[in-house]
Symmetry: C2
Amino acid sequence: MNKSVKDQLGRIVKKSDAVAPAVILVNPQLGENIGAACRCMLNFGLTDLRLVAPRDGWPNPSAEAMAAGASIVLENAKVFDTTAEAVADLSYILAATARRRELEIPVIGTEHVGTKLQNYAHKDVATGILFGAEKAGLQNADVALCDAILTYPVNPAFQSLNLGQAVNIFAYLWKSAEGKAPPDTFQSDLSEVAKRDHLIRMFEHLETELEKAGFFYPLQKKALMTQNIRAPFTRARMTEQEVRTFRGIIKALAKGRGRGQG
Amino acid sequence: MNKSVKDQLGRIVKKSDAVAPAVILVNPQLGENIGAACRCMLNFGLTDLRLVAPRDGWPNPSAEAMAAGASIVLENAKVFDTTAEAVADLSYILAATARRRELEIPVIGTEHVGTKLQNYAHKDVATGILFGAEKAGLQNADVALCDAILTYPVNPAFQSLNLGQAVNIFAYLWKSAEGKAPPDTFQSDLSEVAKRDHLIRMFEHLETELEKAGFFYPLQKKALMTQNIRAPFTRARMTEQEVRTFRGIIKALAKGRGRGQG
């Protein structure tokens, strides 16, 4: 972020919002929705917008037109090739999705999510939320990177929330929980939860070794198997130390295996 | 509403939603926002859309395009010339506005509004909420017809919520409070609160008599004086019987005055 944009952001949101959640749009299709997201983010004090491979490239004139008044959020948006890169610096990540998944990931309702994120913010834990593409929604591989699924209480007969509207409600939930008491207790070492990219590199390390060992069989099931392996580690909220330890374990096991049977 | 539309609505929202709040857009400018309102209303189980003098007339092709999937709400929308007519059958009315008013009207936050409206719905009390035009917002004369002002906890540095987004959050608040316990007690005779048009006719009766009596002086202050007179009566949540009694009082006073001094 260049300095003048950073200064401007400092003036339009409160200091405490510096650790406010990142909003991550995965493969967004319509610039209008990206622009609408900027507006409602700024309405409710969010400024960290991240885009994963936006369909129509970047920058996007439709997004600029729609962001009117909130173009500072758009200018500040970061673009990534993959979801993993977009969440690399975060330690608690939500997936906004209405679809049930085969993944073992806890579901959080709209009632407590704001307070939960405000609490993380007070402890300087970086958080974020993924929103999927307009039609397709989020892929399981993206959801498997998340700590919890956020669902909205929609009318079962008409569930399909517009992308901008979904971001809007999330932003409202964040802001409306400002100053509320914690709904639950937290691990005492919460602020030491591993950054997501450390966890992802641990996954990749493990999966590389598993692949070498011929674990992924049949190969077409690799994606599903990978998700199922990642989910419990993500849920565990591993600390940096635990991640380091586990990487040592992977290394040790792989080395032993290589030596034993080639 | 024609029968087939009514049947369709019956299929797409639950029966209990029949007394769900009306969403009243006063002088909406952009068809896109009207269509967006339809979508998010249906997402959260609201179907009673009312339009007061939409700028671009009615029907509106931009609204139809944007309402995709929720066109049933659009087809069911009712159009009125005045706000008073649009709220005539309602007994509890909110004004969505961020602006402070000189009016003596209580302010309700987003935290309890959903539960309050769900409670009214269970008692078959008809409720609604006014949203103003995109730029101008609501006029004081419209707000003076309301029981309370609903404010959103927006970022002070960027308060201007898009109309569709404002309706979206309201609709979410309604739905998310479904099945929640009452936050406060209600007058036992709540379901007998006078319909708003009876109250409005009482106001008009009173104001006509006051005008004849030369009360509105100087005349350019009439609008402001009228609002200030209406506000406490609206706050009082008068019953049908009380409205009838008060009309008798106005009549009696006016008659006596006329007789005494011509």
